[in-house]
Each structure stands twice: as structure tokens, then as C-alpha cells.
């Protein structure tokens, strides 16, 4: 199939949108990973207040669609901070994704550390390994192994959730695909292109994750049931 000049122009816009999509996904994921790890470690505390606040907060975030959080940040933020700062769709989308996925990352980190056998902590103490070294060299490598599959899933979910930010007016891949579809009267090809972009990145993620799992799982025997 030959492409007309205008179609090539649309594809060029799509490519520009894809860059914005990737910027949003990567920065959102890395920020969520960082803050989620910190929050996950904080929630290991036995402090009643921390536990109560965390329960309520996690329940609220996990019970509400991320699209609604994005809308709330964008429209609510714009109306509340009117005249103070200008809230861009990118900033609103990024902060909404970070707020939502921090909770999921924190749950994963917390669950992984809780599932590291208690004997490992005790052995580190018995061997007089300093707490910081014990965390870094003994607990973390094992916790990463337990959390890895979930963290990779979060990445895929964040990547796909960036599509939602187009609904708050961000000119990302999906928004450009929609514009091109409407203007060219050829919706099928542009939406399939956008879909394939995400499919290719998911497939690439699976390859990388298989390698990561081998790397972090080294020294672990595989037992067949």
C-alpha cells in the first residue's frame, strides 16, 4: 500500500506523540518506583498511626479508576490553583500516575520484604553484620527477586495507562492517532499503528524481564512439581 504525502505527515506526528508517551511512561514509572520503595519501607513500621493511614490511603487509591484520578488532578488542580501555576496535562498526568502507582509499588516492596525468611534477618544479626549492610547485601537481593515479576507488571500497566492522559488533553501517541483518524477518514490504520506500538513495547518488556529474572534468580534451584 502506498502512502500519500499527508499520510506520511500523520505518521510523523504519531512518532512525535510516541516520544511524549515514552517520556511520560518512563518518568512516571521511575518516580513511582522511587517513592513506592520509600513508602513501602515506611509501611513496614509497626506504628499504629502509620498502619492506619496507609490502609485507608491504599484502599482509596486502589478502589478508584486511574482515569478519575487523572481528571481530578487536571481539572481539580487547574481550578484550585488558578492563577498560581498553570497545570499542564503532562504534569497532571504524571503526578496522577505517580500517586496511583506508588501505592502498587509500595505494596509489592512491602510484601516482598515481609516474605524474606525471618531467619535471614536473624542470621545477619547473629553474624554481627551491620544493619545497613544486612539490608543492602542480604535482604534487598532476595526482596528484589520476590518483587520483580510484579514490578515489571506495574511498568506494563503504567505504559498502557499513559494512553488515558490523552483524555486530559495531552498530545501523545493516542491523541495524534485520534486526530489523524478523524482528519484522514482512515481510522483503522492509525489506531492499529498506535496499538502495535504498545504491543511491541510489551513484547520487548517480556524479553528484558526474562533476562532480569534469570539474573536475580541466579543461585536459586528450579524445582519441578
Amino acid at each position: 500500500m502506498l502512502l500519500t504525502d499527508s499520510e506520511i505527515g500523520y505518521f510523523r506526528q504519531l512518532a512525535g506523540g510516541a516520544v511524549i508517551t515514552m517520556e511520560l511512561a518512563v518518568s512516571g514509572y521511575l518516580l513511582a518506583l522511587a517513592s513506592g520503595t520509600v513508602v513501602g519501607l515506611l509501611t513496614l513500621s509497626r506504628n499504629r498511626l502509620i498502619q492506619a493511614v496507609w490502609r485507608v490511603y491504599a484502599s482509596i487509591i486502589m478502589g478508584v479508576p486511574s482515569l478519575l484520578v487523572i481528571f481530578l488532578f487536571y481539572y481539580g488542580g487547574s481550578s484550585m490553583l488558578e492563577g498560581v501555576i498553570d497545570i499542564t496535562p503532562f504534569a497532571a498526568g504524571l503526578s496522577a500516575l505517580v500517586v496511583v502507582y506508588t501505592v502498587y509499588v509500595a505494596e509489592l516492596v512491602r510484601g516482598a520484604i515481609r516474605n524474606v525468611p525471618r531467619g535471614q534477618f536473624e542470621a545477619s544479626a547473629a553474624l554481627a553484620i551491620r544493619p545497613m549492610s544486612a539490608w543492602w547485601h542480604v535482604i534487598m537481593p532476595q526482596a528484589v527477586r520476590l518483587a520483580l515479576a510484579g514490578l515489571i507488571t506495574v511498568w506494563m500497566v503504567v505504559l498502557k495507562d499513559t494512553a488515558l492522559v490523552s483524555l486530559a488533553g495531552l498530545n501523545d501517541l493516542v491523541a495524534h492517532a485520534k486526530t489523524a483518524a478523524g482528519a484522514s477518514k482512515e481510522p483503522f490504520i492509525f489506531f492499529v499503528t498506535a496499538a502495535l506500538f504498545f504491543v511491541v513495547f510489551s513484547a520487548a518488556t517480556l524479553r528484558v524481564s526474562a533476562r532480569l529474572e534469570r539474573r536475580f534468580g541466579r543461585g536459586l534451584a528450579v524445582v519441578k512439581a
Partner: protein, 266 residues
């Protein structure tokens, strides 16, 4: 602008109307997703490439694509194809509500395939071998031994996926279906108050999601009522109920891994 209780009360009927659509779409996708995913799971697990390659491609495409693009594709994209636009299928594809259900079902079913596969894989091989040794036919082994156990193993992952896609229905507004989010948006556009309708919608979503979670937990208890007290204690997650939400949601069988993890932690 802050939450305005009077406005919230006034828009409640409209929001509940939207919520009704959210609930019916969720229910339809739930049923259709199970029906679609079962044959695809069997094809995916078949040793013959003729069956498992198309099934793998189906899962790859519909799991990898954001549901939002799938809805655009089904509602706007398919209308462009002459065979759809001029054929009898147009009765379905001209309807936004039907398109929303179809798009979400394809997405949900592709996740379900992986979850069911994970559950079936988690059934210990010894059980299949034992039933073969007892002369039970492969079909009966599947219906009465592997499938019921797989359901039990996969329930937690299934629960997480169902709750995820229930929240995911919030996008159907983009193809003109008035669901809870779209109703909230409507109110926002009329009143210029974004906070009240959207917080109101958030509360309603939270109630819906948690009601479903409670139902799932009751189902989990009743499926596992045969477990003796000691095993039941072992099954209890170490951390809170929402722990590892995504880890399970991926494709990991919940049953056996949970036992192992919990035992280690003790």
C-alpha cells in the same frame, strides 16, 4: 473549589444512572470474557502450533494494547471496513454500548487466558498421572480434577483482574456511553465544578469495587472450606488483603506459591 454536598445530592440520580451502565457493562464483560477465554486457553495450551500460535497472537495483541485504543479501534476503526459497514454486523458495531462491551471483553479475555493457564499449570503433575494410572479418561481428568483445582488456584489472580477491569470501564465515555465517569464529566461541564462530581464518582467506584472484593473473598472461603484449620491459617496472606495485588494479577498461580511464601515467613 471544594466539595459541595448540596450539589452532590442534586446530581446523585444522574450519577447512579451512570453507575448502572458501569455495572451492566462490567457484568456483561465478566460473562462474555469467561466464555471467550476458555476455548482460547485450551488452544493456547495445545501442543499443536496450528492452535497455540493464533491463541498466543491473540493474547499478545489484546493484552499489549491499552483498552482505550481497543475501544477506538472497535468503534471508529471497524466502521471503515466495508464488510462491517455494509454487512449485518453493522447492527452491532453501530451501537456504542455493544462496542464498549466487545472492546473490553477482548482485553479482559486475553488477561484471563494467562490467568487460567497459570492456574492449570499449577495443578501438580502427580494428580494427572494418578488419574491416568486409575484409567480415568483425559477429558474426565480435565473436567473433574484439573479444572476445579485450577479455578481455586487462579481465584486470587482472577479477582485482581476483575477489579482492575471494573475500574478500567471508566474509559467507555470516550465512545459516548454514559457511565459513572462520563456522568461526572457531564456535571463538571455544566457546573464548572470538577471536584464535587469527581469525588462523588470516586466514592461510588470505591463502594462498587469493595462490594465485589467482599463477594470474591466469600467465594474464596467457600471454595476452600474443606481445608483444615491449620492449612487455612497457612493460606492467610502475611500482609494485608491487598498485598501483592499485582504480583498475583500477572499470571502467577495464587495457591501453591502462597503456601510456600507464607511458610517461609513463619
Amino acid at each position: 473549589m471544594l466539595f459541595d454536598p448540596a450539589l452532590a445530592w442534586a446530581i446523585l440520580p444522574r450519577m447512579l444512572y451512570g453507575m448502572l451502565n458501569t455495572v451492566t457493562i462490567t457484568a456483561l464483560v465478566l460473562v462474555l470474557g469467561l466464555a471467550v477465554s476458555l476455548p482460547i486457553t485450551l488452544a493456547r495450551m495445545s501442543p499443536r502450533p496450528m492452535f497455540n500460535l493464533p491463541a498466543a497472537a491473540f493474547v499478545m495483541f489484546f493484552r499489549g494494547t491499552p483498552a482505550l485504543i481497543l475501544l477506538y479501534l472497535v468503534y471508529y476503526g471497524l466502521a471503515q471496513l466495508p464488510s462491517v459497514h455494509d454487512g449485518p454486523l453493522w447492527l452491532i458495531f453501530a451501537n456504542a454500548y455493544a462496542c464498549a462491551v466487545i472492546g473490553l471483553t477482548l482485553n479482559h479475555a486475553s488477561y484471563l487466558v494467562e490467568i487460567l493457564r497459570g492456574g492449570l499449570d499449577a495443578v501438580p503433575a502427580g494428580l494427572t498421572e494418578a488419574s491416568a494410572a486409575l484409567g480415568i479418561s483425559p477429558r474426565q481428568t480435565f473436567t473433574w480434577i484439573r479444572f476445579p483445582l485450577a479455578m481455586r488456584y487462579a481465584l486470587k489472580a482472577y479477582q485482581n483482574e476483575v477489579l482492575m477491569f471494573t475500574k478500567g470501564t471508566a474509559i467507555v465515555g470516550v465512545i459516548t456511553v454514559v457511565d459513572l465517569t462520563a456522568a461526572a464529566n457531564e456535571v463538571f461541564e455544566r457546573t464548572y465544578d470538577p471536584v464535587t462530581p469527581m469525588l462523588g464518582a470516586a466514592v461510588l467506584y470505591w463502594v462498587l469495587v469493595n462490594l465485589m472484593r467482599i463477594r470474591f473473598e466469600a467465594l474464596d472461603r467457600s471454595l476452600n472450606r474443606h481445608l483444615i484449620a491449620d492449612e487455612r491459617r497457612l493460606r492467610k496472606p502475611v500482609v494485608g488483603a491487598s498485598q501483592g495485588a499485582l504480583a498475583r494479577w500477572t499470571s502467577l498461580p495464587a495457591g501453591p506459591t502462597e503456601h510456600a511464601g507464607t511458610e517461609q515467613a513463619r
